[in-house]
């Protein structure tokens, strides 16, 4: 089959539709309609409303709104803490996404054959996906507690000294990265396993005949073969990482010394802790939204270029 995602996406130039094509076009709009209506009403409309909020000064109680124009945006750009949270979010994303993708690809390559053992491993790897982020946060917080944590204790027994992963500014963010990968890489792995299984067996056989080893086969057959499916887990992980909130909130609360305060954590705290900063918090989230858009569009074109 080998209809790559890019081809099927319909990048062909638009030409005047024939009769049957016009009928198909109508059907397509009809098919999209329910989802489009719901998304517009419950995602786009609130977003537009939030633009209105972002040019006001108002509390979360929406009382005493005062139009301040772009002042909230100016303030955000000058806010040291906001800039710091951008840095933390980018650092987090820059570590989490590549690591998660590499682990996902390597593990899915190792697990692509449908042997009972591989199926068992796949099931295990998917298990953390079904737990709730709140539970995960509290559990890991206690497991990695600097004193009574069982992982810390095991590490101590193995000879490591002064294990205090969650309370050091240099390590806390990476613990969050680890836990986030722990919680989500099952999804990436499963999707990539399917992608590998969809690579025609003949390609592997051909490269074996050419005398390629397992490693070369991985780089020359497996990787190019899964490229079209790579886009989905990559994109969703980038977006998810830039919006990192729940695990941080329950596990570190943004500390120590703000070293894990990601953008959404900072925005959330600003909106709900302060008296009159709903407008300001919304302005910051617009900036976050714009940033995610930008990164996604860039990624989109990079992927487009590489798959051509």
């Amino acid at each position: 089959m080998k209809t790559s995602a890019r081809q099927a996406q319909g990048n062909e130039r638009y030409r005047k539709p024939t009769g049957i094509e016009r009928r198909l076009e109508r059907t397509a709009y009809l098919f999209i309609l329910p989802a489009a209506v719901l998304l517009i009403v419950f995602c786009v409309l609130p977003l537009i409303a939030s633009f209105y909020v972002s040019v006001q000064q108002m509390g979360v109680d929406l009382q005493g709104a005062k139009f301040v124009g772009l002042k909230n945006f100016q303030k955000a750009i000058a806010d040291r803490r906001f800039l710091q949270s951008i840095g933390i979010t980018l650092r987090y994303t820059g570590v989490e996404v590549p690591l998660q993708m590499v682990i996902g690809v390597v593990l899915s390559a190792l697990l692509s054959k449908n042997t009972p053992l591989n199926k068992l491993f796949r099931s295990i790897y998917f298990l953390p996906v079904i737990t709730s982020a709140v539970t995960v946060g509290v559990t890991w917080q206690l497991v990695l507690h600097s004193n009574i944590g069982i992982f810390t204790y095991w590490l101590k027994c193995m000879g490591f000294r002064d294990v205090n992963l969650l309370n050091n500014t240099s390590t806390a963010l990476y613990v969050v990265v680890f836990v986030a990968i722990w919680k989500t890489f099952g999804i990436s792995t499963i999707i990539l396993v399917s992608a590998i299984q969809n690579i025609p067996e003949s390609l592997f056989e051909a490269s074996s005949i050419d005398g390629a080893g397992k490693v070369r086969q991985f780089f020359h057959v497996t990787l190019p073969g899964i490229m079209p499916s790579f886009w989905f887990p990559l994109m969703t992980r980038i977006i998810g990482s830039l919006q990192m909130f729940d695990i941080v909130y329950t596990m570190t609360g943004g500390g120590p010394s703000k070293s894990t305060t990601t953008m959404v954590v900072y925005i959330y705290d600003t909106a709900f802790n302060s008296l009159n900063k709903m407008g300001y918090a919304t302005a910051m989230s617009e900036l976050l939204f714009a940033g995610i858009m930008l990164i996604t569009v860039i990624m989109y074109y990079v992927m487009d270029k590489t798959s051509e």
Binding site: A8, Y29, L47, L62, S112, S132, S285
Partner: protein, 288 residues
């Protein structure tokens, strides 16, 4: 499959393959351990007393079985069964229409050519990039004006359409050969019939994945049910859990009991569903 291949090979090669598999196997086992240990530790917490959870040196296994005591403590605070049912309605009520509506849109994006397709798709994708915290308050107000606060309508309807599922299902549809629909069209099936009878069954593993992940998302969703349905009678499991777990947890054994029990339905669903999606899409049997 590998076993058969191995048996065909001479004993030396088989031995060598086995030895070479050992590092891989160890790697997989280490990963499995890292994944399972905290989960198992948490579940075992449901059988411990509080001093056992918070003790030094920390203990992995419980000394006795205190599950029933803990369960009683949980039930004193929240009615887990009732909360579970609320959550089930929310999860299933969202997932069923979501599977249908999102698959329909995904199908259109994957298989049809129409004006504005790329723009529309990008707009759909953009909705994925909106942090929920941004739209939380406007969305709440919207549901309020619809008169849907504290109803299942208010909980479910805003959550049905999801660019995430459209994105995922679209790539599955893209993998299907074009001849299939042409053949069906010649057989006289209308477009919806092709979608429903021919194409949808072919991406079964993906749909099962969506089903499981979507139910799972609702099951563990905290923020939306919390604000859109704050009445006691509408409370969901994750909100019940928030009474034990949060920034001021101090009864860990109860917290872990509640967390473990609330995980059980998802676990059951997962065990039943996993043979479909863990097996991967290869089972759909349509290779190029």
């Amino acid at each position: 499959m590998t076993e058969i291949q191995m048996r065909k090979k001479p004993a030396g090669v088989q031995m060598k393959a086995f030895v070479r598999y050992i590092p891989t196997f160890l790697l997989l086992v280490i990963f499995a351990f890292l994944l399972l240990a905290p989960l198992v530790w948490m579940c075992l917490g449901a059988f411990k007393t509080d001093p056992e959870v918070l003790s030094y040196p920390p203990k992995f296994f419980p000394e006795g079985n205190h599950f029933l005591e803990n369960w009683g403590g949980v039930q004193n605070t929240i009615d887990m069964v009732k909360l579970g049912m609320n959550t089930a309605i929310y999860a299933v009520g969202t997932t069923i229409p979501a599977m249908f509506i999102n698959a329909l849109a995904a199908y259109a994006f994957a298989r049809f050519r129409f004006r504005g397709k790329n723009v529309l798709f990008l707009i759909f994708l953009a909705t994925m990039m909106i942090p929920f915290q941004v739209v939380m308050v406007p969305l709440y107000l919207e549901v309020y004006y619809l008169g849907w606060l504290n109803t299942f309508w208010g909980l479910i309807v805003p959550k049905v359409a999801s660019a995430y599922w459209i994105f995922l299902v679209r790539s599955a549809f893209q993998g299907l050969p074009k001849d299939l629909e042409d053949a069906a069209r010649i057989d006289g099936l209308n477009e919806f019939g092709i979608f429903w009878k021919i194409m949808l069954p072919l991406i079964k593993p993906t749909m099962i994945t969506v089903l499981l992940l979507s139910i799972n998302n609702c099951w563990n969703d905290l923020l939306w049910p919390l604000i859109a349905a704050n009445a006691t009678k509408m409370r969901t499991l994750s909100n019940g859990l928030a009474m034990f777990i949060g920034n001021r947890t101090d009864d860990y054994s109860l917290a872990f009991t509640a967390a473990t029990v609330s995980m059980v339905p998802m676990l059951i669903l997962y065990i039943f569903g996993q043979k479909y999606f863990v097996a991967g899409q290869a089972t759909s049997g349509i290779k190029g």
